[in-house]
C-alpha cells in the first residue's frame, strides 16, 4: 500500500514542473503541455484523496477535469493554429498585441 | 431663379393641404375604430404597450437589409398599433381614485422580493399616451431623412419606446431600474450612429452623465430596499416612513439621477450637445419624453417616498429651478445654432416644471405635470419642424436662414403656432402650464415666483428673435428651401397643433386626470411633515 504522502509529493512535483514550465518556456505548445501537466497533477491528488477518504466525489470531479482539459486543449490548439497562420510564430515574445 | 422658386412655393401648398385633408378622415376613422375595438377586448394594456414595441424592435433587426421600405412600414405599423392599444388607458381610466390602475402584478424573483409590477395613476398615464403618440411621429419624420442602416434605426426607436413606457409604468424598483438603464443603450446608439458631426462626443457625454446619476440612484434603491423589509415594491415603500436622515441621503441619491435627466442646473450641459447632435427623431424623444423621466421620478419616487426630505429641500430645488429658468433663457439669446437654442430653451422650460413640482401645492404640481406634457408636445414639435427644414437646407446655423415664410408658408404657420405655445401665449397649452406653475410657485415663495416670471419675458425675446431670423426678411440666397411641407410632414405636425390648441382651450381634459392623484401626493407630503413636526416636538419635550 503506497502511503498518501507519496501521491501528494508526486502530484506536487508534477505541478511545480508544470508551473515552472509555463513560466519560463516561450513556446506556446510547450506552455499548453505544461498546463496539462498541472491539471493532471491535480487529478492525481484528487484520486489519491478520493481513495483515502473513500469518497467517490473526488473521482467524479477528475472526470470533469479531464473533460474540461480536453476541451481546453482543443480550443488552445485551435487558437494556436489560427495564430500561426496569421503571424507565423508560436513564440510568446513575438506576440505582444496586448501591450498597453 | 428666385422668382421661379416663389411661384412654385405659392402654388404647391394649396395642393398639399387639399390632398392632406383627404387623409385626415381616414386616419381618424382608423384610430377611432381601433380604439373601439381595443376597448372591447380584455388584454393587459400596459404589458402590451411596453412589449409590443420591444419585441417588434428586435424583429425589425431580422428584416433583410435591402428591404428598407419594409422596415419603415413595419415600425410605422407597430407604433400605430401601440398607440391604439394605449387608448383604453385614456378611455377607461377612472379619474375618481388616486389608486394605481391597469395593474399587473406577477412574482418574478421572489427570493429577492422582485416583482413584475405595472400600473398607472393620474401622474403617469399621460406620459404613456404622449410616448406612444410621439413615437409614431418620430417614425414618420425620419421616413426620408434616414437612408443608412435603416432597420437598425427603426429598431432602436421601437426599443426606446418600449423601455420609456416601461419606466412610466413600473411599480417595482428593480423593474424600473432595468427600463431606466435599458433605454440608455438604444438612445446612445441613436445619437452615436445617426447623429451630426460631433456625435460621438455628445453620445458619450450623454451616456456618462446619466450613468453617473443612475448609479447613485441604484445605491439609493438598494438602501431603501433594506429599509422596506427587503422589497422593491414602490407602493409598499410609499407607505414606509424612513428615518429623517436616511430620507435626506436617499433624496439626494435619487436627486442625482433625476436632476441629470431633467436636466437641472448645473448638470444640464449634456443636453445641448445631445440635442444638437442627435438625429431629429432622437431629439424629439430626448426632449419629448426622456427628460420628462427625471421630473416624473421626482413626482413618483422622491416626493412620496421621502416627503419630509422633499419638503425640507424644496427651497433649494426651487432656487435651482429658478436659476435654470433664467440661465437657460439668457443663454438662448447667445445661440447661433437652431437646435442648440431649442435645447437650451428646454433647460429653461424644465426649470418651470421643477419649480412647479417643488412648489408642492395643487396648482404647482398640476401645472408641472401639464407643462411636462406641453413641453413634450411643443419642443417635440419644434424639433420635428427643425428636422423638416434641415432635411432641405442641411444647415443648423440660424444665420444661414431667412425669408423661409415666403418659400414655405404652411411650414411657417406651423412653426409660428409652436413658437407661440413655447412662449406661453393664451389659447395654447403653454399658457395654462406656465400660468399654473407660476401661480403655484408664487404661492410657495413670492420672490422666486417673481424671478421666474422674468423667464417668460426673455423667452418671448429669444423665440421671436429666432422666428424672425429664420422666417422673416428677404429670402436668404444661401438657403434652398425647395418646397413647402409635403403630406407626410403635414400629417406629422398636424396632431401636435391640434393638441396645442385643444389643451389651450380645454385643459381640464388633462387636468382632471391628475387631480385626485396629485391631491393624494400633496396629502402625503403634508401629513408626513405634520408627523415630523410632532416627532420633533415630542423629542424636544423629552
Amino acid at each position: 500500500m503506497v502511503p498518501l504522502e507519496w501521491y501528494i509529493t508526486l502530484s506536487t512535483v508534477i505541478f511545480i514542473i508544470g508551473v515552472i514550465g509555463f513560466l519560463i518556456r516561450r513556446n506556446i505548445i510547450i506552455m499548453l503541455i505544461s498546463i496539462e501537466l498541472m491539471l493532471n497533477a491535480v487529478n492525481l491528488s484528487l484520486v489519491a484523496f478520493s481513495h483515502y477518504l473513500q469518497d467517490l466525489k473526488g473521482q467524479i470531479l477528475v472526470i470533469f477535469v479531464i473533460t474540461v482539459a480536453a476541451a481546453e486543449a482543443a480550443i488552445g490548439l485551435a487558437i494556436l493554429v489560427s495564430l500561426y497562420r496569421n503571424k507565423a510564430v508560436v513564440h510568446t515574445d513575438k506576440i505582444t498585441e496586448m501591450k498597453g | 431663379m428666385q422668382t421661379g422658386h416663389d411661384s412654385h412655393a405659392d402654388k404647391q401648398p394649396v395642393n398639399t393641404i387639399a390632398r392632406t385633408l383627404l387623409y385626415v378622415p381616414a386616419i381618424i376613422a382608423f384610430v377611432y375604430l381601433g380604439a373601439i375595438f381595443s376597448v372591447q377586448i380584455e388584454y393587459p394594456v400596459l404589458s402590451w404597450v411596453i412589449f409590443l414595441p420591444i419585441i417588434g424592435g428586435f424583429l425589425i433587426f431580422l428584416i433583410p437589409r435591402k428591404h428598407e421600405m419594409l422596415a419603415r412600414a413595419t415600425s410605422l405599423g407597430l407604433t400605430l398599433v401601440a398607440f391604439i392599444l394605449s387608448l383604453p388607458l385614456y378611455i377607461n381610466f377612472d379619474k375618481t381614485t388616486a389608486k394605481m390602475q391597469f395593474t399587473e402584478v406577477h412574482n418574478w424573483i421572489p427570493a429577492w422580493g422582485i416583482k413584475y409590477s405595472l400600473g398607472v395613476d393620474g401622474i403617469s398615464i399621460l406620459f404613456v399616451l404622449l410616448s406612444t403618440l410621439l413615437s409614431i411621429l418620430c417614425v414618420t419624420v425620419s421616413w426620408t431623412a434616414i437612408t443608412e442602416k435603416v432597420k437598425e434605426f427603426y429598431g432602436s426607436i421601437l426599443l426606446i419606446e418600449g423601455s420609456m413606457i416601461g419606466v412610466f409604468c413600473s411599480l417595482d424598483f428593480f423593474l424600473f431600474y432595468i427600463f431606466w438603464e435599458a433605454m440608455l443603450i438604444p438612445m446612445y446608439i441613436l445619437i452615436g450612429v445617426w447623429g451630426g458631426p460631433n456625435r460621438v462626443y455628445a453620445a458619450i457625454k450623454f451616456f456618462l452623465f446619466t450613468l453617473v446619476g443612475s448609479l447613485l440612484m441604484l445605491v439609493g434603491i438598494i438602501v431603501s430596499y433594506y429599509y422596506t423589509n427587503k422589497s422593491f415594491d414602490v407602493l409598499q415603500m410609499m407607505n414606509t416612513t424612513y428615518p429623517y436622515t436616511i430620507q435626506l441621503i436617499l433624496f439626494w441619491a435619487f436627486f442625482a439621477a433625476f436632476a441629470v435627466k431633467v436636466p437641472m442646473f448645473p448638470v444640464h450641459t449634456w443636453l445641448p450637445d445631445a440635442h444638437t447632435e442627435a438625429p431629429t427623431a432622437g431629439s424629439v424623444i430626448l426632449a419629448g419624453i426622456l427628460i420628462k423621466m427625471g421630473a416624473y421620478g421626482f413626482l413618483r419616487f422622491s416626493i412620496p417616498l421621502f416627503p419630509e426630505a422633499a419638503k425640507a429641500m424644496a427651497p433649494i430645488m426651487i432656487v435651482l429651478s429658478v436659476i435654470a429658468i433664467i440661465y437657460g433663457a439668457v443663454i438662448c439669446l447667445a445661440q447661433t445654432d437652431l437646435k442648440r437654442l431649442i435645447a437650451y430653451s428646454s433647460v429653461s422650460h424644465m426649470g418651470f416644471v421643477t419649480l412647479g413640482i417643488f412648489a408642492l401645492n395643487m396648482q404647482g404640481i398640476q401645472g408641472g405635470i401639464l407643462q411636462m406634457i406641453n413641453h413634450g408636445i411643443v419642443t417635440g414639435a419644434l424639433f420635428l419642424s427643425v428636422g423638416i427644414i434641415y432635411e432641405r437646407t442641411h444647415t443648423r446655423e440660424i444665420a444661414h436662414y431667412g425669408g423661409a415664410a415666403t418659400a414655405m408658408p404652411v411650414y411657417a404657420a406651423f412653426f409660428m403656432i409652436f413658437t407661440l405655445a413655447s412662449i406661453g401665449l393664451p389659447g395654447t397649452n403653454g399658457f395654462i402650464g406656465e400660468f399654473l406653475i407660476l401661480l403655484g410657485g408664487f404661492m410657495a415663495w413670492k420672490l422666486m415666483g417673481v424671478l421666474a416670471c422674468t423667464g417668460i419675458i426673455i423667452g418671448a425675446g429669444y423665440m421671436l428673435w429666432l422666428y424672425q431670423k429664420v422666417f422673416f426678411l428677404e429670402t436668404n440666397p444661401y438657403a434652398h428651401y425647395h418646397e413647402d411641407v409635403n403630406e407626410r410632414e403635414f400629417l406629422t405636425l398636424l396632431p401636435l397643433v391640434v393638441l396645442v390648441l385643444w389643451i389651450g382651450f380645454y385643459p381640464n381634459a388633462l387636468l382632471s386626470f391628475m387631480e385626485v392623484s396629485v391631491q393624494g401626493l400633496i396629502d402625503r407630503v403634508n401629513v408626513s411633515a405634520q408627523q415630523q413636526i410632532t416627532q420633533n416636538i415630542i423629542e424636544v419635550i423629552k
Binding site: 505582444t96 | 399658457f431 426678411l473 387636468l511 387631480e515
Partner: protein, 642 residues
C-alpha cells in the same frame, strides 16, 4: 337658449379667421367677404346687446370651465354690463369700418386673405378681452390682441424694420404683462377667485392689509392696483413702456387705425376702469395713474411737435390721448375716461384712415414735408381729416371737445393732484391742437412739395375707402353728443349710463368755474391752431428759425428723448452680453464644462500611467498570477491556522 347670442359676438370673427386662414388661398381676392360678414354679424349682435343693456339688463354667465386646479377655478364666461356694452360698440363698429376700408387699401396685396384673417382674429381677441367675466379671460384677450398686433405690425415681414417693430411691440408688452401677471396671482392668493363679481364683492377685505417688500410696508390694495396698472402701461403705451407704439406704425395703416388707435391700446384704460373699485381704494395708486397719464400725455405731445412722419405724429398723439384717459381715471373720473375712449376711437381712427388715404395717393410717402396742397386732389379725405383734427383739437360742438372738457373739469375738481394734472392737461390740449393742425396745413394746404411724377399720381381714394371715412366723420362730430354736460344744456347721458359700473366723481366747483375751465381749454386750443397757422401757412420760415435757435431741445425731441437708446444700452445689450460672454463663455464654457470634461481627463491620465503595467508578455502575466497565488496561499496558511 338666448345666451347663445352673446357667444356669437366673439365667435363669429373667430370662425371668419379659421375659414380664411385655412381656405383663403383658394379664393384670394374674395377673402374680405367672409371677414366683413363675420364682423358685421358681431356688430349687429353688439347693437342688440347694447339696447338690452340700455334697458337695464346685465348679462353674466359662464360658458364652460376653463381651468380647474384645486381651489383655482376659472371659466370662459361673459359679463356684459354698461362698460362692456360701450366697448362692444366701439370695437365692432370701428372694426367693421376698418374691414371695409381695407378692401380698397389692401387691394392687390399678396397676403390679402392673410390680412383679413388677422383682422378677424384681432376682433375676436379684443371681444374676448372686453366681454370676459374674469381676470384670466381678460389676460387671454390681453395677450391675444398683443399677438395680433405682432402679426399685423410685422405684416410686411420681408422688411427688417417691420419685423423688428413687431418683435419690439411684443416684448415691451411682455414687460408690462410681467407686472400684470403677478397682479393676477396676488388677486388670486388674497381673494381666491379671479371672477370679477367675486373679486368686487370681497375686495373690502383687502383694506388695511399690508405686505412687506424688501423692508417696506406697502398696502396690499395699492400693490395689486399698481401691478395691474403695469399691464395697462404696457398695452396702452404709457411711460416708460411707450416705445413700441411709434414703431408699430410699420404695420399697414388700417391696422394702425384699428389696433393702435381705436381699440387695443385702449385696453389698459378699460382695465383700470373695470377695476375702479380696486383703484379707488388706494389714493397712492390713483395718484400714480393720474400722474403717469398726465406726464405721458405731455411727453408724447412734445415729441409729436417736431416729427415729420405723418403716422408717427398721429401715433404720438394717440399716446398722448391715452395719457389723457389715464389722467381721467386717476382723478376718479372713470366715466369721463371711457367717454374720451369712445370719442377718441372715432376721431383717431378717422385720422389714421385719412392718413392712409393720403399715403395711398402718395404711393406710400409718409413725410409731411414732402406733401402739400392735397386739398384740391382729394377733397373727401381733406374734409374728413379736417373734421377729425377739429375734433381732436377740442373745438366746441365736436366729439373731442365734450370728452376732453369733461376730463379737464373733473380733474380741476379733484384736489391738489387734480389741479396739477389739470394744468398739464390744458397745456397738452394746446399742443394737441398745434400738431394736429400742423399736419393739416403741411399736408393739405400750400403748394405740393413732391416730385412732378408724384403729383401726377395724386387721386382721391376709391369709395370703399372714402365711405368709411365719411361714416367715421359723422362719428367724430356726433359721438360727443351723448355726453353733453348739463351746463351746456345736455344731460351727460353716457355718464349716467356708466354710473352703475364706474360710479360718479364728486363735483363741488361752481358754474362759473366750469365756464372758466371750458373757456381756458377752448382759448388754448384756438391758440394752438392759430400758432400752427402762423408757422406753417403764413410765415413758413419760423419753424426753421426755431429749430436753429433751440437746436438742443429740437434734437432731443426729434430723437424722442433718447428713450430707445437708453433701453438699448441698459437692458438689451447687457442681457445679450451676459448671455454670450458670461454664460456661454464662462459659466457653461469654462466652469461646468471644465468640470465635466476635467474628470474624464483626470481618469484618462491616471490610466495613461497604469497601462505601462500591461507589457503584453504572456509570461509576465503568468508570473503575476503565480506570485498572487503564492501571496494568497501564504496569507491563508498563516492566518487560518491561528
Amino acid at each position: 337658449m338666448t345666451m347663445e347670442k352673446y357667444v356669437l359676438i366673439p365667435l363669429l370673427p373667430l370662425i371668419g379667421f379659421c375659414i380664411n386662414i385655412w381656405f383663403g388661398r383658394f379664393y384670394q381676392e374674395k377673402a374680405h367677404w367672409i371677414s366683413i360678414l363675420a364682423v358685421l354679424g358681431s356688430f349687429i349682435l353688439s347693437v342688440i346687446t347694447f339696447i338690452e343693456v340700455l334697458q337695464g339688463k346685465v348679462i353674466n354667465y359662464d360658458l364652460y370651465s376653463w381651468v380647474i386646479s384645486g381651489n383655482f377655478k376659472v371659466s370662459i364666461g361673459f359679463l356684459i354690463d354698461q362698460l362692456t356694452a360701450i366697448m362692444l360698440i366701439v370695437v365692432t363698429s370701428v372694426s367693421l369700418l376698418v374691414h371695409i376700408y381695407s378692401v380698397g387699401y389692401m387691394h392687390g396685396d399678396s397676403g390679402y386673405y392673410r390680412f383679413f384673417s388677422y383682422l378677424n382674429l384681432f376682433t375676436f381677441s379684443m371681444l374676448m378681452l372686453v366681454t370676459g367675466n374674469n381676470l384670466m379671460q381678460l389676460y387671454f384677450g390681453w395677450e391675444a390682441v398683443g399677438l395680433c398686433s405682432y402679426f399685423l405690425i410685422g405684416y410686411y415681414f420681408r422688411k427688417q424694420s417691420a419685423a423688428d417693430a413687431g418683435k419690439k411691440a411684443f416684448i415691451v408688452n411682455r414687460f408690462g404683462d410681467f407686472g400684470f401677471g403677478i397682479g393676477v396671482f396676488m388677486v388670486f392668493i388674497y381673494l381666491e377667485t379671479l371672477h370679477y363679481t367675486d373679486i368686487f364683492a370681497n375686495i373690502h377685505t383687502l383694506q388695511g392689509q399690508t405686505i412687506n417688500i424688501l423692508g417696506f410696508e406697502i398696502g396690499l390694495v395699492t400693490l395689486i392696483a399698481l401691478l395691474l396698472f403695469c399691464g395697462a402701461i404696457g398695452k396702452s403705451a404709457q411711460l416708460p413702456l411707450h416705445v413700441w407704439l411709434a414703431d408699430a406704425m410699420e404695420g399697414p395703416t388700417p391696422v394702425s387705425a384699428l389696433i393702435h388707435a381705436a381699440t387695443m391700446v385702449t385696453a389698459g384704460v378699460f382695465l383700470v376702469a373695470r377695476f375702479n373699485p380696486l383703484f379707488s381704494m388706494s389714493e397712492t395708486a390713483m395718484m400714480v395713474v393720474a400722474l403717469t397719464g398726465a406726464i405721458t400725455s405731455l411727453f408724447a405731445a412734445t415729441i409729436a411737435l417736431v416729427q415729420n412722419d405723418i403716422k408717427r405724429i398721429i401715433a404720438y398723439s394717440t399716446v398722448s390721448q391715452l395719457g389723457y384717459m389715464f389722467l381721467a381715471c386717476g382723478v376718479g373720473a372713470y366715466g369721463a375716461g371711457i367717454f374720451h375712449l369712445f370719442t377718441h376711437a372715432y376721431f383717431k381712427a378717422l385720422l389714421f384712415l385719412g392718413a392712409g388715404s393720403v399715403m395711398h395717393a402718395m404711393a406710400g410717402q409718409l413725410d409731411i414735408q414732402k406733401m402739400g396742397g392735397l386739398r384740391k386732389y382729394m377733397p373727401i379725405t381733406f374734409w374728413t381729416f379736417m373734421i377729425a383734427s377739429v375734433s381732436i383739437a377740442g373745438i366746441p360742438g365736436l366729439a373731442g371737445f365734450f370728452s376732453k372738457d369733461e376730463i379737464l373739469w373733473l380733474a380741476y375738481n379733484a384736489g391738489t393732484v387734480g389741479r396739477i394734472v389739470w394744468v398739464i392737461g390744458t397745456i397738452v390740449a394746446g399742443l394737441t391742437a398745434f400738431y394736429s393742425f400742423r399736419i393739416v396745413f403741411l399736408t393739405f394746404f400750400g403748394k405740393f412739395k413732391g416730385t412732378h411724377e408724384e403729383e401726377h399720381h395724386l387721386h382721391e381714394s376709391p369709395s370703399s375707402m372714402t365711405v368709411p371715412l365719411m361714416i367715421l366723420a359723422v362719428g367724430a362730430i356726433s359721438a360727443g353728443w351723448v355726453g353733453i354736460p348739463p351746463l351746456l344744456g345736455g344731460t351727460n347721458m353716457i355718464g349716467h349710463f356708466l354710473e352703475p359700473v364706474l360710479g360718479h366723481p364728486h363735483v363741488h366747483g361752481t358754474h362759473a368755474e366750469e365756464w372758466m375751465v371750458i373757456a381756458i381749454s377752448v382759448v388754448v386750443a384756438l391758440g394752438g391752431i392759430f400758432t400752427a397757422a402762423v408757422m406753417y401757412l403764413w410765415a413758413p420760415g419760423i419753424p426753421q428759425l426755431l429749430g436753429r435757435t433751440f437746436r438742443s431741445i429740437y434734437t432731443v425731441l426729434w430723437n424722442k428723448y433718447y428713450v430707445d437708446e437708453l433701453y438699448d444700452y441698459t437692458i438689451v445689450r447687457p442681457t445679450k452680453w451676459i448671455g454670450s460672454r458670461i454664460l456661454v463663455g464662462v459659466t457653461d464654457g469654462k466652469i461646468i464644462e471644465g468640470i465635466v470634461n476635467g474628470v474624464p481627463k483626470l481618469i484618462a491620465e491616471f490610466g495613461e500611467r497604469f497601462r505601462k503595467l500591461q507589457t503584453g508578455f504572456l509570461q509576465h502575466y503568468a508570473m503575476g498570477m503565480a506570485f498572487g497565488l503564492f501571496v494568497i496561499l501564504s496569507l491563508v496558511l498563516i492566518f487560518v491556522k491561528q
